[in-house]
């Protein structure tokens, strides 16, 4: 995949105006564009408080003193940076769909990463299957976008996926609180519940972007088939009937519902994306409506 195709250049300006939404104020320790939980020295007024001897006299509100004769201190929000971690599932199952699910994941990661870099957020990208296949950590500033694009363009499907096991490998978790966005189909044998718990334990605000292709949602198989798992190689012989397909579709729906239900229960936002839909729709409508970006 060439770099130019990762993101349409015409979108870049649009992306620069957007940012990854965060529900809680960020708690970073370097200056950035995000409002911090702490009061600090940004331009944004936060509150007044009575003067206590020892306070910085530069922050006294002389106008208020003129009106009331009392000394008030102006407080401003601090601006800090946000840690954004992007986890891209590079397991074999992401190699399906038209276009591939992995392509969608990579493009979404590119868009999210680019907009975060533009906002001076600290961006880390992880590609995983059963383990972390590769990562770019701690990028900050728009100047790193080329690195990011190059890394993303070089991703290719690997083996069987296991998010939980991947997160257990060293360096897989960002040490500070921040936002973690997982782009995956969540078709893991061991499930993703423990992995999400692990991320939340690391003070991450987790967003799940589930990517399922049309082939998975509503397969058009016929006849006697031996279904072979692309990751594990497990095979099942079935005679595909309309009834079985209907049952399968029901099962997919319930799987999605189950994931969404779990995410809701843990305060995790969950978004569904489909590679067959235009990227623009997914990016500017779906993610925006879901509140992942704003």
């Amino acid at each position: 995949m060439s770099k130019t195709h990762l993101l349409d250049p015409s979108w870049l300006a649009r992306l620069e105006r957007m940012q990854v939404a965060v529900r809680k104020a960020a708690g970073g320790n370097q200056a950035g564009k995000r409002r911090s939980r702490q009061l600090g020295s940004s331009m944004e007024f936060a509150d007044y408080r009575p003067y206590v001897p020892g306070d910085d006299l530069r922050r006294l509100d002389w106008n208020a003193y003129a009106r009331s004769g009392k000394l008030f201190l102006k407080k401003f929000w601090d601006e800090t940076q946000l840690h954004v971690s992007l986890y891209i599932d590079c397991s074999r199952s992401m190699d399906f769909g038209q276009p591939r699910k992995l392509d969608l994941a990579v493009r979404l990661a590119a868009a999210l990463g680019y907009m975060s870099l533009c906002h001076l957020d600290r961006v880390s990208v992880y590609a995983f299957d059963r383990q972390i296949l590769g990562s770019l950590r701690g990028m900050q500033g728009k100047g790193n976008s080329l690195r990011l694009m190059q890394f993303l363009a070089g991703l290719s499907p690997g083996g069987a996926g296991d998010l939980d096991q991947a997160l257990r490998s060293p360096g897989a978790l960002q040490g500070r609180a921040g936002i973690s966005i997982v782009l995956s189909d969540f078709l893991f044998d061991s499930g993703c519940e423990r992995a999400i718990a692990r991320l939340q334990a690391a003070r991450q605000e987790v967003t799940l972007v589930q990517i399922l292709s049309q082939e998975e949602l509503s397969p058009a198989y016929q006849g006697e088939l031996r279904l072979i798992d692309s990751e594990t190689g497990l095979a099942k012989e079935v005679s595909v009937t309309e009834k079985l397909l209907q049952e399968y579709r029901n099962s997919v729906t319930s799987f999605r519902r189950q994931l969404a239900g779990f995410a809701y229960g843990r305060g995790v936002s969950c978004v569904f994306a489909q590679p067959e839909l235009p990227l623009e729709t997914t990016l500017f409508s779906v993610l925006r409506q879901a509140g992942v970006i704003r």
Partner: protein
């Protein structure tokens, strides 16, 4: 439903073959899926583990099997019988047996058969010919290959039911012979399928088609199977046996009547399905015959509800012993027999009272045979009826040559010695029983309607009287010679030949039937072979002797086996029908519509459906 080509059932092997092919079919395509995780949830219990499980819910297989089954059925050429007859030549066989007298509603089976045959004949088109066979005791062709419908109807009208047995096998082979003579014949058998005596393994090969029309439906019948009356010290004793041949319990009343029709005794009976009950009655007043009648609840055949019994008449016979030399042995043994009134005559008096039941001649040969049966001992001269050829000394021991003759029953000849005996020539109707070397010692048979026993040796020239064999032999001889007179006539079934013993010396003999019809008998001798007619009832033989009319009775009953009236299927020839000629001349069988075309059309429909299913890939 008939199968005209049953042998094509072998094509049904295609069905397991299709199944086997499906089992062997490994048309499983590999399909790579992103993850089997979602499929696994649905495949619990759906996975084809064992081979036959692959066949479940396989619409294609089901349709193929159905189509194949229909084609096999079509090959077997099923046909449903239709009312009409279309064969150019129809052989109608009407069963005439006792069970055909069973009532089906208002009419008898026989009447139904005749009615059905009438309808068939009336429906015939021009150019069709009919052969009518009545399958009675002897099958008879009533009318052969006749195109004259009126004549056939007349013959049908003239058929009368018979109460006897029917010879099914003979009728079948007769029909087969006629149908073989004329190709394109159809045999239509009208009966109730009671075909005992027919070997089902080797039915007569009927070329052309065979159709059996069941005339019977009634299964219930209660029969008076046996009725016997015997005189006893305190009045007569009667025994009645009632058989329930049906499948439901039967009850009813039984009544006993005497000669004048007076009710003597009555009782109720109950017989479970297929069971017999026996009732006994005692102290009945004396009567020459008794009638027992039952009135059962369920009854299909009224003909077997009545039975007559003539009590054993233990009258004493009259015997004459003619022995010029006198014979103590003979005298003693005749006295000891008990049932004979023995008169000893020194010689044959050529006088009037020659009527004796038994004549015993010892050492004397009468010129002509007197009335009555004869025991001749030690013949010594030649007469018209006795080819005497002289005396011969014997050096061989006597040996029985016809040991199963009633005369020789229990008689041991091994230690009997005979010094000399008369040599007798061949006599028609008389067979040798005991011989010594080439000489006949004892002969027995019938001469001019009389039973004759000849002992060709003088008892004094032998040690026979000293042996245990002597009293036994004499008892046998007396039984055999006097049985005819001492026993009642007995009973018979229609179609049988009844041996009626006649009283010697009667001047006129009249047989009176149950309907009062009188038949003069003009016979000689002591026996009369009577062809028993189909009329069931009590017959009377009136004999006039010395101006006095003596009546003896005998009953004609329905054959006990005909009481089994349950209709049965009659398969003979059915399988043959389709096999003949491989359908060349048999063609479309007469009177049945083949369903082959319909089945083939249905099979085509299924094949079409299967093609659609295959196309749409269900």
């Amino acid at each position: 439903m008939q199968w005209l080509a049953l042998s094509n059932f072998g094509f049904a092997l295609i069905l397991p073959a299709i199944l086997v092919l499906y089992l062997f079919k490994r048309k499983v395509e590999n399909q790579l899926v992103p993850s089997i995780l979602l499929w696994q949830r649905n495949l619990q219990g759906r996975e084809a583990v064992r081979p036959w499980e692959k066949l479940r819910r396989n619409l294609l297989l089901l349709l193929q099997l159905l189509a194949a089954l229909l084609l096999v059925l079509a090959l077997m050429r099923p046909a449903v019988p239709t009312g009409g007859v279309s064969a150019p030549h129809v052989i109608l066989v009407i069963e005439q047996s006792g069970s055909m007298l069973a009532r089906e509603g208002e009419e008898t089976r026989f009447a139904r058969a005749v009615q059905t045959a009438r309808q068939l004949v009336e429906e015939l088109g021009s150019g069709q010919t009919v052969t009518l066979i009545e399958a009675g005791r002897e099958p008879r062709v009533r009318i052969a290959q006749s195109g004259d419908r009126q004549a056939v109807l007349r013959e049908l009208q003239a058929l009368v039911p018979q109460a006897g047995r029917s010879d099914t096998a003979a009728a079948l082979s007769l029909a087969a012979a006629i149908s073989a003579e004329r190709p394109g014949s159809e045999v239509i058998w009208l009966g109730d399928g009671q075909t005992e005596g027919l070997d089902p393994a080797a039915p007569a090969p009927i070329s052309g088609s065979f159709r059996f029309l069941q005339m019977g439906a009634e299964r219930e019948n209660t029969a008076l199977a046996a009725f016997a009356v015997q005189p006893a010290a305190a009045g007569a004793e009667a025994l009645v046996r009632i058989d329930n041949k049906g499948s439901l319990p039967s009850s009813g009343s039984v009544a006993l009547y005497d000669q004048a029709g007076h009710l003597l005794a009555a009782d109720r009976f109950f017989a479970a399905a297929g069971e017999s009950v026996a009732l006994s009655f005692s102290s009945l007043p004396e009567s020459p015959f008794y009638l027992a009648a039952i009135e059962p609840e369920h009854d299909g055949l009224p003909e077997d509800n009545k039975r007559w019994s003539v009590p054993f008449a233990a009258g004493t016979g009259k015997a004459a012993l003619v022995s010029p030399q006198g014979n103590r042995f003979l005298h003693q043994v005749l006295q000891a027999a008990g049932k004979l009134e023995v008169e000893i005559l020194p010689e044959i008096s050529a006088q009037k009272d020659l009527e004796r039941d038994l004549w015993v001649f010892d050492g004397i040969v009468p010129e002509s045979l007197p009335e009555g049966n004869i025991l001749l001992i030690a013949p010594n001269r030649k007469t018209d009826w006795l080819p005497y050829e002289g005396m011969r000394e014997l050096d061989r021991l006597p040996q029985a040559v016809a040991s199963d003759h009633p005369l020789l029953q229990y008689v041991e000849w091994a230690d009997v010695h005979v010094a000399r005996a008369a040599v007798l020539g061949e006599m028609a109707g008389v067979e040798p029983l005991v011989r010594a070397g080439g000489t006949d010692l004892v002969k027995a048979g019938t001469i001019a309607g009389r039973r004759v026993v000849i002992a060709a040796f003088d008892l004094h020239d032998s040690d026979l009287p000293l042996r245990p064999a002597f009293p036994i032999f004499m008892q046998n001889a007396l039984n055999w010679l006097t049985s005819a007179q001492a026993m009642p006539i007995g009973s018979a079934v229609p179609g049988e030949r009844l041996d009626i013993p006649l009283t010697p010396g009667a001047t006129s003999r009249v047989l009176v039937g149950p309907d009062g019809q009188r038949q003069e008998l003009d016979v000689q001798g002591t026996r009369f072979l009577f062809q028993v007619p189909d009329r069931i009832g009590l017959y009377q033989l009136q004999e006039e002797l010395n101006g006095e009319v003596r009546s003896r009775y005998f009953a004609v009953h329905l054959d006990e086996r005909e009481s089994e009236i349950a209709p049965a299927a009659f398969h003979a020839g059915m399988q043959q029908a389709g096999r003949e000629d491989g359908g060349k001349t048999a063609g479309e069988p007469a009177g049945s519509r083949e369903l082959t075309a319909w089945l083939a059309a249905l099979a085509l429909l299924f094949v079409f459906a299967e093609w659609r299913v295959y196309q749409r890939g269900y």
